[in-house]
Structures are given as structure tokens and as C-alpha cells.
């Protein structure tokens, strides 16, 4: 790891100001950033820890919306009961030690193509709230490790409309436990959403054909005979595009079944 300065600002305004410096990078749980720095894939001059910002922490539910502070850990999200499908997703990330440090804001900002939270945000129609604006999930994820965030923009919270039914099913890549493919399905006032992670070179995406079929009939059988185009799908040592396309169909059915 290259060396860097470390600071832990006490207020959001100070953190945003610190990130104006071009060499500065935000640090949340460090469960992605620290391994990245060890591999010398990034070379920030300064890390700005978000750990002291109380306004980024905690959960609250009201009016059918669950608001999760950006610095809330996976373990804390796993422990809430207002949105069970989201709790189950968080409880399946990595392992207990990773879940005690890793945060929802870090996961969304990172937008790893195999990460779990992007599927929950897109599959729930969540809103990503930053220090500057509110970004609908449909406009947030813009490609492999790319988001709509500006360099000095900090996610402060994520607002999830709580659906009537939802579930996330992931097929674990057995060594890393990231999603080889993961499918998040929800049905609520905003309609049916099907978000797929782990499968596309472009990162998380909505499966439009699956959504159309499930909107007409929210049952696993509704997905019979549908296929996913292998065009943008990832092919790697763990599985080819055809295998991932197949998994999307299977996992979407399982998610619908689990959502009930």
C-alpha cells in the first residue's frame, strides 16, 4: 500500500470540503477500499473517514419507506425487521466480520458488478440520497464500478419503498461468496421489478422481459420459456454467458417463489 494521510472529519460539511481535494478518497467500512489499496489499484493522498458522521448512521421506517443511513453496516441492516428481504440480503453478504465493517453506502458507491446491494436498490426502486441531491436507482448505476456520483459527493442515505413482496436469491461464487448471479424481485405500488447482479459486463440491470411477464402473473410459471440474451453477459472461469443466462431464469423463479 502506498502511504496516505488519514482524517476523520466530525461533520458532513467538513467531509465534503475535504473531498474537494483531488487526491482525497472517502473511506467507509474499508472492506473494498483497503484491499484495493493493498493491490495498489488506487493511490489516494488522503483518506477521509466517514466513521464520525452520525448523520450517516442508523435506520428508520415510516410511511412505507425504510431509510438506511449510508454508513449503516451490513450487520445492522441484517438486524432490522421492517424490510425482511433487505435484511436477508444483508445477512448473506460475505461473512460476519465483513458485515460488521462494510456499509451500504460503500457498496453502492463501489458498484461492483457482482455485489448484492445494487440489486436491492435497483430491484426496490430505491432513492440514493447524497449531500447534494436525490438520485433514483434507475439513474444511479452507470456501468462497471461506475455511478452517477461526483468525486466529492457523499451518499448520506438510501430510501427503500417497502414492497408488498420481495426476495433476493443469489448463487454464490463459492470462494468469494459474491454473487455468481443474484436476482432481486419485488412487487409493490411501483409495479414489479427484477434486478440482476453478477451477470452483466455493464453491472446491475433490470430484466425487462421478466418484469413484463411477472406484471401479468406474479408466479414462477410466468417465467417459463423466457430466455435472456447472452450479449452483455460475463464469461469467466466461474461460468460462461450461457450459464449465467440460464441462472438468471432459475434464480428469478426461486425469488418469486420465496417472495410468495
Amino acid at each position: 500500500m502506498y502511504d496516505f494521510d488519514f482524517e476523520r472529519p466530525a461533520t458532513l460539511a467538513d467531509a465534503v470540503a475535504a473531498l474537494k481535494d483531488e487526491g482525497a478518497t472517502a473511506l467507509a467500512g474499508g472492506q473494498t477500499l483497503i484491499p484495493t489499496l493493498k493491490q495498489r489499484l488506487a493511490m489516494p493522498e488522503r483518506l477521509v473517514s466517514l466513521a464520525a458522521l452520525d448523520e450517516l448512521k442508523g435506520l428508520s421506517a415510516s410511511g412505507g419507506v425504510l431509510t438506511v443511513g449510508a454508513a449503516t453496516t451490513h450487520a445492522q441492516v441484517a438486524g432490522q425487521t421492517d424490510y425482511p428481504a433487505l435484511a436477508a440480503l444483508a445477512a448473506g453478504i460475505g461473512d460476519p466480520h465483513v458485515r460488521n465493517r462494510g456499509t451500504i453506502g460503500g457498496s453502492l458507491a463501489n458498484n461492483d458488478p457482482s455485489a448484492c446491494y445494487p440489486a436491492a436498490a435497483l430491484g426496490s426502486g430505491a432513492t440514493i440520497v447524497t449531500n447534494a441531491r436525490e438520485i433514483p436507482a434507475d439513474e444511479f448505476f452507470s456501468g462497471l464500478f461506475e455511478t452517477a456520483l461526483e468525486d466529492d459527493e457523499i451518499i448520506t442515505a438510501v430510501r427503500f419503498p417497502i414492497p408488498d413482496a420481495a426476495a433476493y436469491v443469489k448463487f454464490e461464487q463459492p470462494a468469494s461468496r459474491f454473487a455468481l448471479v443474484g436476482v432481486f424481485v419485488s412487487k409493490g405500488s411501483g409495479g414489479v421489478r427484477v434486478a440482476v447482479t453478477g451477470a452483466s459486463e455493464e453491472g446491475v440491470f433490470r430484466w425487462a422481459d421478466g418484469e413484463a411477464a411477472l406484471s401479468a402473473d406474479f408466479s414462477p410459471e410466468a417465467l417459463d420459456g423466457l430466455s435472456v440474451s447472452t450479449g452483455d453477459l460475463i464469461g469467466d472461469v466461474h461460468g460462461g454467458p450461457d450459464y449465467r443466462a440460464h441462472l438468471i431464469g432459475v434464480l428469478a423463479k426461486r425469488a418469486v417463489m420465496a417472495a410468495g
Binding site: F4, P96, S176
Partner: protein, 161 residues
């Protein structure tokens, strides 16, 4: 260099560190607490598992400066006051829960975190909880047995070594 202070196994400690100094490095190299092992240094194996403010974490995936002011517990704090093995450690010895012992500090710290959360875990809960702690030697069976025993549960005949 920046000064960092924290409490480790009940003792106030401090030292000078760089921004990039890992908590595992601070514990091992600055404090000489080499019971915390570094296996992979990439956040995968769990050998470096410790507790920070009561929560289990991988100390190779945390900066020393992030632990400023924190309560840290390491394997050195797991023995009894008279230096004899603590309850979980003793169960690992009794049930042959280790061979080379490299993963053991992390396994014991993970087990302690599990038992704090779930005092009487099932076998399945134990196995799931250890998903971030890798062991190259034991095949996990005796580790699971040791944790069952440490939780005061019967280690049934099906677990006989």
C-alpha cells in the same frame, strides 16, 4: 507519523503509525501481540480476526487509525487471569480443534463473537458463522465440535472423532 491510542485487552496503549498502517500490523509489530495471525492479508481467511468495540472484524482490513479510542480484544485476552486456557481455548484443545494452529486465534475470536450473539448455536449456525474463517488442516469438524462444547452443549455421538 500520527499518534494512535486505544485500549487492548483492557490496557490503554498508544503508538506512532502511518496512515497506511493496518490494525493487524500495529498489534503485531508495535505492541508485540503476535497471537493475531496474518494469513492472507486480503480479508479472506479470518486468521487476523479480533474484536473492536465488541464486534468481530478482520484486523488486516482495518487501519490502525480507524481504531482510535476503541476497545480492542485479541487472542491474548482470551486466557484466564492466571494464564490458563479460557473456556473456548480449552474446548479447542479438548476436541482437537486445531492441527497447525495457524487459523486458531481467528477461530477462537470468531467463536467468542458467535457465542456472545447466540449462546447455544446449532451446528448449522456455527458452520455458517465460520464462513469467513478458513482452516487448511482440520476439515472444520473438530472446530465445530469444540464450539458446541464451549457453548455447554452436548457433543453427541455423531461428532465422535
Amino acid at each position: 507519523m500520527t499518534k494512535v491510542s486505544m485500549t487492548v485487552n483492557g490496557q490503554p496503549v498508544s503508538g506512532e503509525v502511518e496512515g497506511r498502517t493496518l490494525l493487524s500490523t500495529f498489534l503485531r509489530d508495535t505492541l508485540g501481540l503476535t497471537g493475531t495471525h496474518v494469513g492472507c492479508d486480503t480479508g479472506q481467511c479470518g486468521a487476523c480476526t479480533i474484536h473492536v468495540d465488541g464486534a468481530s472484524v478482520k484486523s488486516c482490513n482495518m487501519l490502525a487509525l480507524e481504531a482510535e479510542g476503541a476497545q480492542v480484544a485479541t487472542i491474548e485476552g482470551m486466557s484466564n487471569a492466571d494464564g490458563s486456557l479460557g473456556r473456548i481455548q480449552q474446548a479447542f484443545q479438548d476436541h482437537h480443534g486445531l492441527q497447525c494452529g495457524f487459523c486458531t486465534p481467528g477461530m477462537v475470536m470468531a467463536a467468542a463473537a458467535l457465542l456472545a450473539e447466540i449462546p447455544k448455536p446449532s451446528e448449522a449456525e456455527i458452520r455458517r458463522y465460520l464462513s469467513g474463517n478458513l482452516c487448511r488442516c482440520t476439515g472444520y469438524h473438530n472446530i465445530v465440535k469444540a464450539i458446541l462444547a464451549a457453548s455447554g452443549q452436548d457433543v453427541g455421538a455423531e461428532y465422535a472423532a
